[in-house]
Every structure is written in structure tokens, then in C-alpha cells.
Subunit: 343 residues, 2 copies
């Protein structure tokens, strides 16, 4: 899998020591070499109050001796994934994975192929698929996300990330990550932040690509989860994925899981929908400087435009509260010079 | 709270660049200064096959190009806490905290003082306390571990760690950590390992002292947990601790939670009781070099001696399996030069 981090614009920013110095990394050593021309931080962000709010926040929390200084071990930044770090249309990508996997399974299994919801999926019957209810979704998830070891599931997801192609953009899904957010992740990390994903998506699904796509290791990915069962198989300990839900990491579930997994209040939180509101409120509830940021999808030309009426990624109450409380609301159209990494 | 990490014997090992080099940290720069005399790694461990097994394992997984090389991001080490990193007698220290807190609450509340289990606790009625069943324990836990914000609970635990004294050793509980294990944690970290606690103890209880006592940040502490509820109180988002149990991080719950929180199989796992067996089996189930280690409490003089018949920290099945599979079984008596940090 190619790494979106390797996009030239990003490489220029963070892989040289001089770049790290410009990014404000306190511990970067003084350089003996002559200065080289390095782009400013967040090169894919247009100048303006939103980019400036990010830079100001980071300057405040990293200024030693300043009133808003936050020690590095307390610099926690939490990011939603779907719609915040990568796209979420025409449906959550994990849903597309589940459909693709169900198609694959049903095409090899004549018994499954005659059973719903697999019959409609195999036939590509969009009208029937649109009517899927809780029962069909549960059957779909059980067949595609359970009944195998965690390692077997990871291998299936990995193959999908390497081969599946988005219908509109004709790129692999892991390439539909937002270049400005990759730069923001790297900028925060260069300034001592530990970056976490806190998403309604499946934790094990996201972990397969989060490290290569975002530089976020598995242990810093929090998400919805199914239960697993410990077993000894052929003398070897394994975990078997069960169909039962363990935790839904959405809305109030986000701060609850942040406390369970991280145990600190985030200093900065990033989302794009009402599902992120409780996480943003939780970040805002701590002392000192905080950064709450919402990505507003208002760019139908380069990506998608949706907010208050959308079924996926509805942004309504959180948009009102962000406006009232003066949180950063990023306009993809105005604030982002580019959306996806260069090919 | 004083930091056990500041014990002179440990400072000598890990805070100088030369010490880091001796510890085998691959990225330590070549030094221009003349060499200084530095103790060997794990100074509180006696020479012998167990200390050597640790050194050999670390050498194998860090040798670049070698057959057992493990990339740094996959070097995950998980440690049980009670009986592995600190003592667990005369009862789990968290139990002692709960009793002390119940005593404190009942002494200020005449209604509570008349009710069980608080009446017996206030009277110090050891016979009645010894007969406490599920009902009394649940009431004790609800009163001492629930009905407050996570931040209020942390402050209560912090005060206890600063003031409560162990009856036999006459030291604060956070000082009853095992010096050889502190050195092992530091040695592994110096060799690129990320160290985690995976304990049956309460995750929020342990997080209060894990960073100062062990150098393990809250987000690398996994434990048993109660549920929490998200609320807005006086305009501020908080989490309220509930009496309902979320997860028991013991036995099969350990590998299940390792997968949920870390998402990787540990390369090395450390425990002391049958409650750790599933975690050790899970670590052993991965490919390549693995280290599974059990601390055997056989030192009644300097600490405690207990194993197959003990109610706290019973070590029976895990001792048999460790012997069969040639895991490291540490004898506190023979392998450890000292038990607790110097005062």
C-alpha cells in the first residue's frame, strides 16, 4: 500500500530537521548547515482565521512558562475518522467494505447466495438494499465481521484496502484521506501532541490502515467494537470475533471511551458531525487553552457538500454550538488549498 | 509524591547517554566524552539464567537484520500490576484504599455509620469484615468508587497515595513497587518497547500513580473498569462514575482487553498469578521470539511467600504451564538483589 504521507508537499514539511524547527518542535537542535527554504506549516491550508487559530493554539500550549503551557505528556489530540480524516460518501467506507465482502462470500457459497441480505447484494438490487433494516444489517455484519480470528479479519481488511476503488474518485479508499488533516496531524505531533482516532468506525477495521495512512499506531485508535472470545486453537491462543456489540463509539460514547482508553481529557478535538459533539464538549470542559475544530463539508465540487439534512455525517446541533462557543469551523471550500493527497 | 524512579541505583542506569548506550539503545549517538563507569543493566537482578533470558530476548528482538528482529512499533510489553509491579498483601492495595475511604465516609456520616458494611468497617470488626459477601463488597465499591466525577475520584485516590501507610513495611503503598521491575520497565523502554499495565485493578485507580511510580502514562494502563455517564454539569462536560461494572480485566479478560486497547499481540508479558495465564498464552501465541515471565513470591523474609494455595495472587496452573513451556519463573529470593527501592 502506498503511503499518503509520502506526498511531496508533506515530505518537504516534516522530514528535515529544519522543517521540524519551523514547525516549532522545541527540542530540535540548532543547525550548523545554511538555512534552506522550507514551506510554512500546514501548506495545504489557506491563510485566514481558521489556520491562524490552529497556529495560535499550538503556540500558546507549547510556550514554556506561559499561562497556557501544557506539559507534553498531557498534549492529547483526538480525531474523528469518517468525514474528518477521510471521506464518508457515498456511504461509510466500512459499509462499502462489508458489502464487497458479502458479495465475495455469497458468490462462492450457493446456500448463502439464496439467503437475504446476500441475495440482494449479489444481484446488486439497489431498491432492496435501500430497504435493509436492523435484521439485514446484523446478518451482514455477522457474516463479514465475526466468526474468525482477529488476525484473519485484519488480513481480509488489508486486502480490501489494497484493491477496492472508490466509484467517483477512482482511487483506493486509503488515498481519500484529507491532505490538510494529514498536515495537521503531523504538525501537532511535531509539537509534542499524541494523536488519537476516536471514531464510530470499527476499531479493528481502522487499525489496519491507520498507521500507514495517518501515522497513528493501533494502540491510539479507539472505535466501535464487537466482543471477542479467547480460545486455544491447535495449541495457540487466539481471539475469535463475535457478532455481539461491545461498544458504540459515537456521541456520548466518545468521551466515555476516551476516558476508558486514554484517561485524560483531550486538549484538542476534531470532528465533523453531531456524533462528535460530546467529544468536543468534553475537550472544551478542561482548563486552559483548548482547540475544538469542526470540518464543514461545503465543497461539492472537490468532495461533497452536506450538513444539517444529511443521513451520513449530519452536522446540525454541533454547528450551532460551535458558532455559539466560537469553535473553529473549517470550510473545506475556503480553508483547504487541496483536499486529497497528490497522486 | 516522591518518585521511586528517582532511586539512585536507577538514575545511574538510564539517565545518562552512556547508560542508554550500554542498555543497547540503537539510536544513542556515539560519545565524544571519555567512557564513565556505568553499572550493567538490571543492577538489582542477580546474575543467573533468568536475568540472562531477559537480556538474550532483548538482544534478539532488537538485532536489525536478525531472524527475530521486531520493529520498534511492534515492541509491546504488558505487565500485570498487583504482585508483579507492586505488592498485593495483606490484600490488594485497592481494597485497602476502599476500606480506608469507607472509614473516612462513615466517620463523617452518622446515617452511613449505622449501615452495613460501614458499621463493621468503622468498628474495625475483623470477624464481620472477613464474612463480607458479594452484597457488602458491592455496597463498599458503590460508596467508594462511584457517584462522583472521574476528576473527583482521581483527587481522592491521589490523597490516599500520599498519606496511607502499609502496616508491615511502614511505607507509602506507591513505594512498595519492585525495584527490579522498575529497572526491567526502564530497560525495555530504552530498547524501544512500549510498556503497558494490564491488570485486574481498577484502571482509573492505577492511572493516578502509574506515571510517577512506573513511568507508564494513563493511556498505557488497562484495567478493570466501571461504567461512566456523560453529563453537562454547570455548563461543563463531565463523566460520572457509575456502580455498574464495565469490564473485569482478569484471566481471559486480559487478552480481550489487550486486543481492544492495544490491537497488537504483546511481544513480552509479565505476571505473577493464574489471572495472568491467558495474557501469557496470548503473548506466546505470536511468531518469533517472545518473553513470558512470572514473578514467583517465595521470599517471606523480604516480602511474602505464596503460590498454589493463596487466595490473593494464586499461582498454580500458570506455574505448571510455565514449567512445561520453559517460560521464565523469577524467584524473588534468588533472582532479586533488592525488592523495594532504597528509602
Amino acid at each position: 500500500m502506498s503511503n499518503p504521507f509520502a506526498a511531496p508537499s508533506r515530505r518537504n514539511v516534516v522530514t528535515s530537521a529544519a522543517g521540524l524547527t519551523l514547525l516549532g518542535l522545541a527540542s530540535a537542535p540548532a543547525l550548523a548547515q545554511p538555512p534552506v527554504l522550507i514551506p510554512a506549516p500546514l501548506p495545504s491550508w489557506n491563510e485566514g482565521p481558521n489556520r491562524q487559530a490552529i497556529l495560535d493554539f499550538v503556540a500558546r500550549v507549547t510556550r514554556e512558562g506561559g499561562p497556557d503551557f501544557v506539559p507534553p505528556n498531557e498534549r492529547i489530540a483526538t480525531f474523528d475518522n469518517d468525514g474528518t480524516l477521510w471521506a464518508e460518501n457515498p456511504m461509510y467506507f466500512q459499509g462499502l467494505f462489508a458489502f464487497a465482502r458479502a458479495h465475495e462470500l455469497a458468490s462462492k457459497d450457493p446456500v448463502l447466495a439464496q439467503r437475504e441480505p446476500f441475495k440482494s447484494i449479489l444481484a446488486g438490487d439497489q431498491a432492496a438494499i435501500a430497504k435493509f433494516g436492523e435484521h439485514e444489517i446484523a446478518a451482514l455484519m455477522a457474516a463479514t465481521h465475526a466468526g474468525m480470528t482477529t488476525e484473519e479479519f485484519n488480513a481480509i481488511v488489508r486486502r480490501w484496502t489494497e484493491t477496492a476503488i472508490h466509484p467517483r474518485f477512482q482511487r483506493r479508499y486509503v488515498e481519500l484521506v484529507y491532505q490538510p488533516m494529514l498536515e495537521l496531524l503531523a504538525y501537532l505531533r511535531a509539537n509534542g501532541f499524541k494523536t488519537f482516532i476516536v471514531s464510530g468506525g470499527g476499531v479493528d477495521f481502522m487499525r489496519v490502515f491507520a498507521e500507514s495512512a495517518y501515522g497513528i499506531p493501533p494502540e491510539q485508535v479507539i472505535g466501535s467494537s464487537g466482543k471477542t472470545k479467547f480460545e486455544i486453537r491447535d495449541g495457540r491462543a487466539v481471539l475469535i470475533k463475535q457478532a455481539d456489540i461491545g461498544s458504540i463509539d459515537d456521541k456520548e460514547g466518545k468521551p466515555v471511551n476516551i476516558d476508558l482508553h486514554i484517561g485524560r481529557r483531550p486538549t484538542a478535538a476534531f470532528g465533523n458531525s453531531d456524533g462528535d459533539l460530546a467529544m468536543l464538549q468534553y475537550a472544551a470542559g478542561g482548563p486552559g487553552a483548548r482547540l475544538m475544530l469542526i470540518v464543514h463539508h461545503d465543497d461539492a465540487e472537490r468532495e461533497y457538500a452536506y450538513d444539517r439534512q444529511s443521513h451520513v455525517g449530519r452536522l446540525d446541533k454541533a454547528l450551532d454550538e460551535a458558532t455559539q462557543r466560537n469553535w473553529v469551523v473549517v470550510s473545506m471550500k475556503r480553508d483547504w488549498r487541496t483536499v486529497f493527497p497528490a497522486r
